[in-house]
């Protein structure tokens, strides 16, 4: 177990170092001078030179990387060029929206998928299963921003039940919060739920032929009880892996969905920073999102090891 954990932790470190090198390289070695890029075409050369110093562009490539990565490790993400406040403040403010949104979407998609997969497997070979599978096939093929647009079209433009965008702030009360977050969470969750349904269904089907399922039925459990008590816990192992991977899709999805609904989250922060050429914000926030995705994948690996005793022993 210790060896397995150490191996995974080492892989995590290496991935993060590689990721930071890639993010650094994309921004730093990109065509042209970052300072000139940030200030635009008509910039005053003196201002560009000042920004170059502020960005630490006068140092060597290695020195710049060490400065930036060292700052990240100390929790110093730099100072935003457009907002003139520490990036860590911006991140904390925006994450307060993005993390709950992603969490709601994750819970929503897993519960939808769980229900749909159990329904499909318990009604095997009947029209219910065909319908569930057709819906999931359709869900996989629908981009989340189109779902978002359709939801806005139906539930806010036509019916007026939910807001078409914007965020009232956390003090606005539960009703206003629900009206503003329900559609984005649903738009993020539905395509993920479709993917998860397919994975859960096939994981459940795999368990149906196992001896313990036959025993469960033989001792008199109903199909449904056998499914939920015995098949489900065993089917969760592959599902967990996909769930970990999905978090990274949720993060990327948030960039787009937060833009659709004008929600001031991390995704919108990155996107606005890209548009405003605020490379300091872009670099640190992208690295933070990559860190979150990699860390979640690592946690899933740990859960996986806890759930499957075979993985604890070195092969």
């Amino acid at each position: 177990m210790i060896r397995y954990l150490a191996g995974r932790a080492l892989a995590l470190m290496l991935t993060l170092v590689a990721a930071s090198l890639v993010v650094f390289a994309i921004i730093d070695i990109a065509p042209g001078d970052p300072a000139a890029y940030m200030m635009g075409l008509n910039a005053d050369p003196a201002a560009v030179a000042a920004l170059r110093t502020e960005l630490g562009l006068d140092g060597s490539l290695a020195q710049r990387y060490v400065d930036w990565a060292g700052g990240l490790l100390r929790g110093d993400l730099g100072v935003s060029y457009t907002y003139r406040v520490p990036v860590s403040e911006l991140v904390a403010e925006r994450a307060a929206l993005s993390i709950p949104l992603a969490a709601i979407a994750l819970v929503l998609s897993s519960s939808l998928a769980l229900g749909a997969a159990l329904l499909a497997v318990s009604k095997r070979g009947r029209p219910t299963e065909t319908t569930v599978m057709a819906l999931s096939q359709a869900g996989v093929a629908t981009p989340n921003f189109w779902i978002a647009l359709l939801l806005v079209l139906v539930f806010s433009t036509t019916l007026g039940w939910f807001s078409a965008g914007g965020f009232p702030g956390w003090d606005a009360g539960p009703v206003a919060l629900f009206r503003s977050l329900a559609l984005p969470a649903l738009a993020l969750a539905l395509p993920q739920a479709a993917v998860l349904t397919r994975v859960m269904r096939s994981a459940l089907l795999d368990t149906l032929n196992e001896d313990y399922m036959r025993t469960a039925r033989a001792k008199g459990l109903s199909q449904w009880a056998a499914l939920t008590r015995h098949a489900l816990p065993n089917a969760m192992i592959p599902v967990l892996t996909i769930l970990g991977l999905q978090f990274s899709f949720l993060l990327a999805g948030a960039v787009i969905i937060e833009n659709v609904f004008y929600l001031p989250g991390l995704g919108r922060l990155v996107f606005q920073a890209i548009v405003q050429r605020d490379l300091i914000v872009v670099r640190s926030v992208v690295m933070l999102l990559v860190f979150a995705a990699v860390a979640i994948a690592f946690l899933v690996d740990l859960l996986y090891a806890a759930a499957d005793p075979r993985l604890r022993r070195p092969a």
Partner: protein
């Protein structure tokens, strides 16, 4: 022949046909702006109406198919072209080379792909070519993994042992014996990555990082329609349906091909 394959081929075939037709002809010029005609509802002259600049939606859809297919196709080409040889090399050589290639792949896998694609296109500058590169990079580890997994199994087969006994080297065996037997799996994977590429291209264009005007893109049509969703709701339907039908078609085709080529791996047992 299975039904999924036929339906899938029909849907994706329609998108490819639309892309090909648009090369030679569209009902109206997609670069022709006529604000007086803006927001016409669907009619005999404009079957799906016109957008906020008075451009014909049918023409934009046809030209958008071309962008979608071209970007996804090149991205798949980058993935197969780099990923498959890497996977074959990893399987043929094993040891340290295998370890390095596969660990590098794991790292690319761990990244939030669309996020980095957004970053890449933002820094390189938004364009169709940069979208192809950004999406293609993330196809590389997928194909490397499929090629390596399949190749490892093939390396244990008798005909490969026979080829080795006959004195063929790792490169010749990979090209002459392993690759042809891997083609099925690579084709199925290519269909899946093609469909992901269509969604990714639409996503990039949606946030303004795909092809630039006057080139048309389904993703940008959707983002433009969003501004006018109160005024002309029909504009939000056609491009979304086009993406949906193309992706659905490619996914069905992938499932169908997998069943047809390898009955042992059927999706719906």
């Amino acid at each position: 022949m299975n039904r999924a394959l036929i339906l899938g081929a029909a849907l994706s075939g329609a998108a490819i046909l639309a892309a090909l037709v648009s090369l030679a002809w569209t009902p109206y010029d997609i670069a022709a702006i006529d604000v007086a005609r803006a927001f016409s509802a669907p009619s005999a002259a404009h079957w799906l109406g016109t957008d906020h600049l008075g451009r014909d939606v049918v023409s934009l859809l046809l030209a958008g198919a071309r962008t979608s297919i071209a970007v996804a196709l090149v991205a798949v080409g980058i993935g197969i072209g780099i990923g498959a040889p890497l996977g074959l090399l990893a399987a043929a050589r094993g040891g340290l080379i295998d370890e390095i290639i596969m660990r590098a792949n794991d790292m690319v896998f761990a990244f939030p792909a669309l996020l980095l694609a957004i970053l890449l296109t933002a820094v390189l500058g938004p364009s169709g070519v940069n979208a192809m590169i950004a999406i293609g990079v993330f196809n590389v580890p997928v194909f490397a993994r499929v090629a390596r997994g399949g190749a490892l199994a093939l390396w244990r087969r008798e005909y490969v042992l026979a080829a080795r006994a006959a004195g063929k080297g790792g490169f010749r065996i990979s090209v002459e014996h392993v690759l042809p037997n891997l083609a099925d799996q690579l084709i199925v994977q290519a269909t899946i990555q093609f469909s992901l590429g269509v969604i990714a291209e639409a996503g990039l264009s949606y946030v303004g990082l795909g092809v630039q005007p006057p080139d048309a893109s389904w993703g940008r049509m959707l983002s433009e329609s969003q501004t006018f969703v109160f005024l002309a709701p029909w504009l939000a339907l056609a491009p979304g349906l086009a993406i949906f039908a193309t992706v659905l078609g490619l996914n069905l085709m992938g499932d169908g091909l997998r069943d047809a080529l390898d009955p042992k791996q059927r999706a719906d047992r």
